[in-house]
């Protein structure tokens, strides 16, 4: 193992320029992936925030006894999709209307009878905020005898749904394309490192080195390069994030796990890229 490490580090020491070049190439390839990832992460977050507003309101028939309502509220909260169910009494509805609809304050003030119905406002858990689940919950709410009407922004939910699907599809396709480009570019730089040492590989084989012995230092240095590239890419992304935050918009950065994934992705590309390059080279000589 010590020998493998020594040989791997020797590769860096002997060709510092080429090594720096490959790390830079890997870093910028992953940076492109990372930037796209940042966009995706922020878009997703924005959509999630919008989706949090998805709400189903069940209007209640006037005169429904409070006991039935409390019971129903418990039932509704037990639905697997439901995050919370809040009862809004007729009085609270009026108070809320007075506070929010300032223009109508006079009209509302002069009312002799409260025209607003009581309601149960239902919020859904993340992952259930799509049209299908919303419809399902709405149907179930309609099943309660004292529910007069159920409202939710159907069009709006469906549009949001479609937007999320498009975002996911575009993210997947563009992300895969970026990743593929990164893999190809990184593979090429690693191939250069192998070709640069082809004479040395030939000599190793002559003196009786096994393929595994020849391969191991390359794999290690490939993984190290990929990891360094990944770390630099995260650094670059962070720089970009800071700039965007300062000059353009409030944005979110990767979570620790996402950043870790980029580094691991780089490491794996380095590892497998090296394995493929050395393997192909060894089969040929």
């Amino acid at each position: 193992m010590r020998l493998v490490l020594r040989e791997a580090l020797l590769i860096f020491r002997r060709a510092p320029l080429l090594s720096a070049l490959s790390v830079t190439t890997i870093a910028f390839s992953l940076f492109a992936v990372g930037l796209f990832g940042l966009v995706a992460v922020n878009l997703q977050q924005a959509l999630r925030q919008v989706a949090e507003r998805v709400e189903i309101v069940a209007y209640l028939l006037p005169g429904t006894p409070i006991e039935s309502i409390t019971l129903a509220q418990k039932d509704i909260e037990a639905f697997p999709e439901v995050a919370s169910a809040t009862y809004v009494s007729e009085d609270r509805a009026l108070a809320r209307a007075r506070a929010e609809l300032v223009e109508f304050r006079d009209v509302l003030q002069e009312l002799e009878r409260n025209p607003l119905p009581g309601s149960i406002e239902v919020k859904l858990k993340a992952g259930f905020r799509d049209a299908e689940h919303v419809n399902e919950v709405a149907d179930r709410l309609r099943g309660f005898g004292f529910v007069d009407d159920v409202r939710f922004g159907r069009d709006w939910v469906e549009k949001l749904d479609r937007l999320q699907q498009i975002a996911a599809a575009v993210g997947l396709v563009v992300g895969a394309a970026f990743a593929a480009v990164a893999v190809i570019i990184i593979g090429t730089t690693i191939r250069m490192a192998v070709l640069q040492r082809s004479r040395e590989i030939a000599i190793m084989r002559l003196v009786g080195a096994t393929d595994g012995f020849i391969r191991r230092p390359f794999l290690l240095q490939g993984a190290i390069k990929g990891m360094l590239g990944g770390l630099v890419a995260i650094g670059l992304s962070y720089g970009a994030y800071v700039l965007i935050n300062r000059w353009l918009i409030q944005a979110a950065f990767f979570t620790r796990e996402q950043a870790g994934t980029v580094v691991i992705f780089g490491t794996l590309i380095g590892l497998f890229g090296s394995a493929a390059s050395v393997g192909r080279h060894l089969r040929r000589v």
Partner: protein, 231 residues
């Protein structure tokens, strides 16, 4: 120890490089492999160290049947051989000592024993004083000595030398040749490909001559026949 039987070698684009070559080299022998450039000397050596497979015929080296040799066994074969080339093939960024040690490191030799073994062979080739020198700091003759030391450090039973003096001046040639003779005297077989006929005439060793891929003369066989023919 090295036995070629009816060996043919065809290269996809180069035509027939060896035609029906058979010979046997015994333990401890010194053999010159001669012939013009392109006669097939290097090809014979390549077959012996399993760089190329024979197209047909059988090649046996030190207990290995090379027609049946799997790729993963090639390193094991090469560890029993020492190989020396005209162009030395040293690693430029390692000292003489490191170049020699390298051949041991790849073979999973006990690490503690490596420095002593390296110094011993460097002393044997007369380069102990230049162990720390890089190849570019050494003369051609000295570089070839490092290469020979590297070939010897695994204690091979046979040393293959492909035009080892081809890049050397006359003095260095004599030195390297003498070194190979000393190595042979201590029991290692030496197969030396060369087209330097002066060298061949200097020593009473067996000569195998190739011409356009065919074996045209083998002193071991032909001298016996000549003796038999003249009563």
């Amino acid at each position: 120890m090295i036995k070629l039987t009816n060996v043919f070698k065809a290269f996809p684009k180069g035509g027939l490089a060896l035609k029906d070559v058979s010979f046997h080299i015994a333990k401890g022998e010194f053999v010159f492999l001669t012939g013009h450039s392109g006669a097939g000397k290097s090809t014979v050596l390549k077959l012996v160290y399993a760089d190329e497979p024979p197209t047909s015929g059988e090649v046996r080296v030190s207990g290995f049947n090379l027609s049946e040799l799997r790729r993963k066994d090639i390193p094991m074969l090469r560890r029993r051989l020492g190989i020396v080339f005209q162009d030395f093939r040293l690693l430029e960024d390692r000292t003489a000592e490191e170049n020699v040690a390298f051949a041991l490191e790849v073979t999973a030799a006990r690490r503690a024993t490596i420095p002593a073994r390296v110094m011993r062979v460097l002393t044997q080739v007369g380069l102990a004083a230049k162990a720390q020198a890089y190849p570019r700091e050494l003369s051609g003759g000295e570089q070839q000595r490092v290469a020979i030391a590297r070939a010897l450090v695994n204690e091979p039973t046979v040393l293959l030398a492909d035009e080892p003096t081809g890049n050397l001046d006359e003095r260095a040639t004599r030195g390297v040749f003498q070194l190979l003779r000393d190595i042979n005297a201590s029991g290692t077989a030496v197969v030396m490909a060369t087209h330097d006929l002066d060298l061949v005439r200097q020593a009473p060793y067996r000569v195998i001559e190739l011409q356009e891929g065919a074996l045209v003369y083998d002193s071991a066989v032909d001298e016996l026949r000549d003796q038999a023919a003249s009563p």
